[in-house]
């Protein structure tokens, strides 16, 4: 079958497109975020970004507020300009109503976490309340024997940051990165330990699905294929729209199990 020839883009005059159409398409230049928009975005994502990493994506040197004001028409107020003028980290009252498995955590959580990080370090550490929903729907915990032998009964030292209610999404993200790195390095046992540590400390964590996936892959990696299979099936049943579905289905097929 012959592949279609790539047509010139409509914005290209050589495409022979209508001039009015090109004018309309060029108007999408307005879709670029302003410096204020980017500053606001960086602030709202601060808990996920390492501090002092020069993360603000290419901001212009001109004062942003003036430029953004020029974008206001018909009395419409662009809220981002106002927010950006206030300060970083003050984004609040955001809600995410999506129900898919890709649903992001509510941004208000992120903002709250940013505030929490500024709390005095002497704040008392409160153990997370033992709420269970996420764990209750899990298949019976069945750690591999080799892991059981090695896994510490007590939380690992790094758990101290995670068991606190003031743990931020950044703390969770750090655990996730560590577990992922262990998995990638072929250290499935350590990845399993971290995943269990996470589940103990974050019964309502932001990355429960991610850690479930890591746990499944780590079980597979350590040779506990029956347990990996059982958890994978359970995962797919409970999270049919998960972003990790394809990956887990691939793993199942590696185990000779049709999804």
């Amino acid at each position: 079958m012959t592949r279609p020839t790539t047509p010139p883009r409509l914005l290209d005059e050589r495409s022979g497109s209508d001039e009015l159409l090109r004018t309309l398409l060029r108007s999408t230049e307005l879709d670029e975020p302003s410096a204020a928009d980017l500053a606001q975005l960086s602030a709202s994502l601060e808990p996920l970004l390492p501090p002092g990493d020069g993360l603000a994506p290419a901001a212009p040197s001109a004062p942003p507020a003036q430029g953004v004001a020029a974008l206001l028409t018909n009395g419409k107020v662009v809220t981002s300009a106002v927010v950006a003028l206030v300060a970083a980290g003050t984004v609040g009252a955001w809600r995410y109503a999506g129900s898919s498995s890709d649903a992001a955590p509510t941004p208000s959580v992120v903002a709250a976490a940013a505030s929490a990080r500024e709390a005095p370090s002497s704040a008392p550490v409160i153990e997370a309340a033992p709420t269970a929903p996420a764990v209750a729907v899990e298949p019976p915990a069945a750690p591999t024997s080799d892991v059981r032998a090695r896994a510490p009964r007590q939380p690992a030292p790094s758990t101290s940051r995670a068991t606190s209610r003031s743990a931020t999404p950044a703390d969770e993200a750090a655990l996730l990165a560590e577990a992922q790195a262990m998995l990638a390095a072929g250290n499935g046992r350590r990845a399993l330990e971290i995943a269990r540590e996470y589940r103990r400390a974050h019964t309502r964590g932001l990355y429960r699905e991610e850690f479930e996936r890591i746990q499944i892959e780590a079980l597979f990696q350590t040779g506990a294929k029956e347990q990996a299979r059982a958890r994978a099936r359970s995962f797919l049943q409970r999270h049919p729209r998960s972003a990790h579905r394809a990956r887990i289905e691939t793993l199942l097929s590696k185990m000779g199990d049709a999804p």
Binding site: L10, L30, L41, L45, G67, Y96, A103
Partner: protein, 196 residues
Amino acid sequence: MRLSREMSVATRPTAEPAPDRPEERREPLRFAEVYRTHAAFLWRALRRLGVREADVADVCQETFMVVHRRLADYDGSSSVRTWLFGIALRAASDYRRRAHVRREQFGPEPPDPGVSADPLDALDQRRARQILERILETLDDDKRAVFVAYELEQIPMNEVAVALGCPVQTAYSRLHAARRHVEAAVQRLRAREAFR
């Protein structure tokens, strides 16, 4: 209008997509790097996929949270930009489905292009953007996605197909259908203005 055009140029990220070829990437993705390089791209892609100006900051943040969660899923089979576009597609689709996204909550609608009092030769950029949005809104999701990806984001067609999860031939078919639809809408707009 001049000022806004200058701003759009000024805020364009310096690292703007040197489309990172999948085969060139072997190391794991770092969120900070993805954010720094592609924040502006993701923002405008969401706008062009139908996220309202007043909501794009929220949706962009949510989308980056999803990106953060899914970093480990990036397998290098497409460019990072294409992978992000796929995530943006889903985010924009979810946005449109959310119960609170209803027209009556958006405040005043932009004037209908068909009853505009503005002569076409006086179209300012802002108004042109509103008209284009109205036209894009009449495309179905699949056609809009391929139109935005190819015509506006200049993503190569084979990568568009990857982002959409469809064969290249299908992506081309959708592109042609979207073009016909958009061109017809522009012709109707021109005809209405001619009789004004």
